[in-house]
């Protein structure tokens, strides 16, 4: 009853606008969330509504709509009573009771018009302007795409190349058309190299970005089940991501050979990188711990010593590709090595930090099975009094959801953590099945309130522990 009554709470319009905002005003995702929500009083759990201009406009629209319907409903009830018309009275009562739900759907109407009349034309103008600025720019344009590891690759390239070149890169994980437009407008014009991250949220995104940016070099970090709710299959996602290579010479395409799903899209002429090295350069003498990743790249008598604070065996290929691209651009070995010395773990990506004497590896932005594999492998290799693995699972895995999470359970079990903490949601059972299949016998804790767990992590850890946090779910996933 409390859940049903939550649609009549004064906070209901704000909850609806919060849902719109959290799904980035995507009608399909918003409706999916709306339909599975039974208690609107707890929708805003992880954060609250960010009252932007757009959010305020939707809030006013929603509130005024509900008020208008209530006024009409009240008028009907009064008229029905005066005229003795049961039909009018019942219509009034129906309108009154249905007001919140009706407007939870009607709020889509302005979204539809705004998208087609305002947002899309604006995006198209931005695309044209981005294309013009970048076409006139003399710097080398390096595009980074892939289902995972894009931001790490982009940041590595930007940091290492900056040791000998003037470099500009798209900020953080901003990788959509608007971000590219803002990036292009902020360029000074004399940069030697531009590193641009391509996001892939919807079919055709990468193809459009390629057409806009017209890169000179492409780096593809890998292919994994991600955004499959939009792409439908990993095959379709792969086609879109590899459309980046179509206008380039194969020798200008760098691809991660350690991504199984990407292999069928890779031509032999591409420059493939892996933890073995690339393009005749051999990677060896690797050591990986919480202080970073160290190895050497050797080709003939030439050696590049890579010493980076970012951690993970799976990053040896990415680090190698960065070094060789820098080498190709004419940077000296000492500049490349100095560049690596400045590379640090990026926020929420295998980022280690100390908590009450324990090591916590924050990999909350990891959203794919390859990342899970890399993380669990790292956890297995580390020494600790207790190893604790924490995850809610992965999102947007489409039809692969069950299989991916069973595999995830098996990967976690193979890392042999002492404790596994799972955030209770729709994929918990699949992860548990995977754990059981792999014979995991240690403790499994199911947490029903992730926010409370994360904010009180210090209560669960002690000196000597290593905790790996992989992925995080926002309120719009259950």
């Amino acid at each position: 009853m409390k859940r049903f009554l939550s649609i009549y709470y004064p906070t209901f319009p704000a909850a609806i606008v919060y849902m719109l905002q959290s799904t980035e005003y995507d009608t399909k995702a918003y409706l999916a969330w709306l339909h599975r929500t039974s208690d609107f009083s707890v929708v805003m759990h992880r954060r609250t509504l960010d009252r932007t201009t757009v959010a305020k406009a939707f809030l006013i629209f929603m509130t005024m709509g509900i008020v208008l319907q209530i006024v009409i409903a009240a008028t009907c009830v009064v008229l029905g009573y005066i005229e003795g018309s049961a039909l009018t009275t019942f219509t009034g009562i129906f309108l009154l009771l249905s007001a919140p739900i009706v407007w939870a759907y009607l709020v889509i109407v302005p979204m539809f018009f705004a998208k087609h009349l305002i947002i899309n034309p604006k995006l198209e103008r931005q695309r044209r302007e981005t294309k013009r600025i970048l076409a006139e720019h003399k710097g080398l344009k390096i595009a980074v795409a892939g289902s995972y590891g894009k931001t790490t690759m982009k940041e590595l390239l930007a940091t290492v190349l900056a040791e000998g070149k003037k470099v500009a890169a798209t900020p953080g994980n901003k990788n959509v058309a608007t971000a590219h437009y803002q990036f292009a407008r902020g360029l000074e014009g004399d940069e030697d190299a531009l590193v641009i991250e391509f996001g892939e949220g919807h079919p055709g995104d990468v193809r459009r970005f390629t057409e806009t940016v017209q890169p000179d070099i492409a780096v593809i970090t890998g292919l994994a089940p991600a955004h499959l709710d939009q792409y439908g299959s990993i095959e379709e996602a792969g086609k879109d991501i590899f459309s980046l290579t179509e206008a380039l010479k194969p020798s200008d395409v760098y691809v991660n050979l350690e991504s199984d799903a990407a292999l069928k899209h890779i031509k032999p002429e591409y420059v493939g990188f892996s933890s073995d090295g690339l393009d005749g350069w051999r990677a060896g003498k690797a050591t990986i711990d919480l202080d970073g990743t160290r190895f050497e790249l050797k080709k003939g008598k030439k050696i590049i010593h890579v010493n980076s604070q970012i951690i993970g065996e799976h990053l040896i290929g990415v680090l190698s590709a960065t070094a060789i691209i820098a080498n190709r651009l004419g940077m000296s070995t000492s500049d490349i090595e100095a560049g690596f010395a400045h590379t640090k773990p990026y926020e929420h990506r295998m980022q280690p930090y100390r908590l009450g004497g324990a090591w916590v590896i924050d990999d909350a932005y990891n959203g794919n099975i390859q990342g899970i594999e890399a993380g669990t492998k790292l956890l297995a290799s580390l020494k600790a009094t207790r190893k604790i693995y924490v995850t809610p699972g992965l999102v947007d895995q489409g039809r692969e959801t069950t299989a991916v999470h069973e595999k995830m359970g098996r990967l976690i079990a193979n890392a042999k953590p002492d404790i596994v903490v799972l955030m209770k949601n729709s994929v918990t059972d699949a992860i548990t099945r995977g754990l059981n299949e792999a014979g995991y016998k240690s403790e499994v804790i199911i947490q029903h309130d992730p926010l409370t767990f994360y904010t009180n992590l210090d209560q669960f850890v002690a000196a000597g522990d290593v905790v790996l946090l992989q992925n995080d779910w926002t309120d719009n996933y259950q």
Binding site: G356, T385, T452, Q459, V461, A462, A463, G464, D465
Partner: protein
């Protein structure tokens, strides 16, 4: 799911410390475990008991809303009905009842940490966390604790003790006994904890004031010779028959100050480092953890701490405070605290025991001791009554 009753507050000068210990170090980790139902009972400064879920929120006490809640709420009563049951009269004649599986007393100082509450729980026949009645009573009496320790061959330093009444009725004789000690001295109430009422006395002119302060807090007073070349250390210990130590901790105070209430609990547990400019240390940053001691003093102190724990018959947990003469390389037992503030969770965490593990282990130890005691036959049949 077992129900854990957490009792805190109480009629002691350490009432406020108890609230923080209970909410931050016990209730919060217990609830995070999702394995126990936690029922909070708060004992107000006037001794009244309150039972309400809202008592788990520390802001209630910080903002003073606790007074409002107390004015509205009925006190619960306890039923000893084959165990312990909390009962409370509610509105419309309803009665709320809750059977308790384990009690976690988080009381500091008199009327709680001194064995009196443990006696009540023994009568109720319910497992409870921490030291039992005799060890709590011994531990909370600095004089008795030193006497028991000394009887077990543990070094306790040089000290004298007397009652408040002796001080008032025969001050000459008391001062003559104190005169046998070498200054500087420490004057302490025998039962107060958290360093309340303790004064360091440099010479005889400061003695009267120190005695007055101590007598204000207690009916029994102990005066101790200060240990020269002093290093203070403290050792949290956990266990029943096989106690295990956490890390030896060394408060960072200079020889002229001591580890007082201000240092421990005010300013969020922060104190300026002697001789250092600027910033305060972080929470619990007032200590070296583990203590950095020369030679085998660490081992000596750890052994002495465990010996004291065993000699006093402690179980569950306690924290042993020791004084070290660094030149003579001699360790002395100072005092023992059967319910350390905030369970000394920061120290246990550094020793590899998380906050949630700590409360869980303490609950397990409580049940283990209860099971052991239950095995002991306490009654037997006789014909004694037939003769009447």
């Amino acid at each position: 799911m077992k129900t854990v009753l957490v009792i805190f507050g109480g009629r002691s000068p350490e009432h406020d410390v108890s609230i923080v210990s209970a909410i931050a170090a016990v209730i919060k980790p217990l609830e995070l475990l999702n394995e126990y139902k936690v029922e909070p009972v708060y004992i107000a400064k006037n001794g009244a008991w309150y039972w309400n879920d809202k008592l788990k929120d520390v802001s209630l006490y910080r903002t003073g809303q606790i007074d409002q809640l107390m004015s509205k709420g009925n006190s619960p009563w306890l039923e000893f009905d084959g165990g312990l049951q909390l009962v409370k009269q509610q509105s419309l004649g309803r009665v709320r009842k809750q059977r308790i599986d384990i009690v976690f007393p988080v009381m500091h100082g008199s009327h709680g940490e001194d064995g009196s509450l443990m006696g009540l729980l023994e009568m109720a026949g319910v497992p409870y966390v921490g030291c039992d009645v005799p060890s709590s009573a011994l531990a909370m009496d600095k004089v008795l604790a030193k006497q028991v320790a000394a009887a077990n061959g543990i070094a306790t330093g040089t000290w004298v003790s007397f009652t408040k009444q002796e001080l008032q009725s025969d001050q000459q004789s008391v001062k003559a006994r104190i005169g046998s000690l070498s200054y500087p001295l420490f004057v302490k109430p025998a039962h107060a904890g958290s360093s309340i009422g303790i004064t360091k006395v440099a010479n005889v002119s400061e003695l009267d004031n120190a005695l007055e302060v101590a007598a204000h807090y207690d009916t029994k007073i102990i005066v101790e010779e200060a240990v020269p070349n002093l290093i203070e250390v403290t050792l949290p210990i956990m266990g029943n028959s096989e106690p295990r130590p956490a890390l030896l901790e060394q408060p960072l105070t200079d020889a002229d100050t001591f580890f007082d209430f201000e240092t421990k609990y005010m300013h969020g547990g922060k104190k300026k480092m002697p001789g250092k400019k600027g910033g305060k240390l972080g929470a619990h940053g007032y200590s070296n953890l583990p203590a950095k001691l020369p030679g085998d003093l660490y081992k000596q102190a750890e052994t002495l701490g465990l010996n004291v724990y065993r000699a006093l018959g402690c179980s569950g947990t306690a924290r042993v405070d020791m004084l070290i003469d660094s030149k003579a390389e001699k360790v002395y037992f100072n005092e023992i605290n059967p319910m350390p503030g905030s369970l000394y969770a920061h120290n246990w965490r550094a020793a590899g025991v998380s906050g949630t593990e700590l409360v869980k282990q303490l609950l397990n130890l409580a049940e283990e001791r209860y099971a052991e005691v239950e095995k002991v036959q306490t009654s037997f049949s006789t014909n004694f009554l037939k003769q009447f």
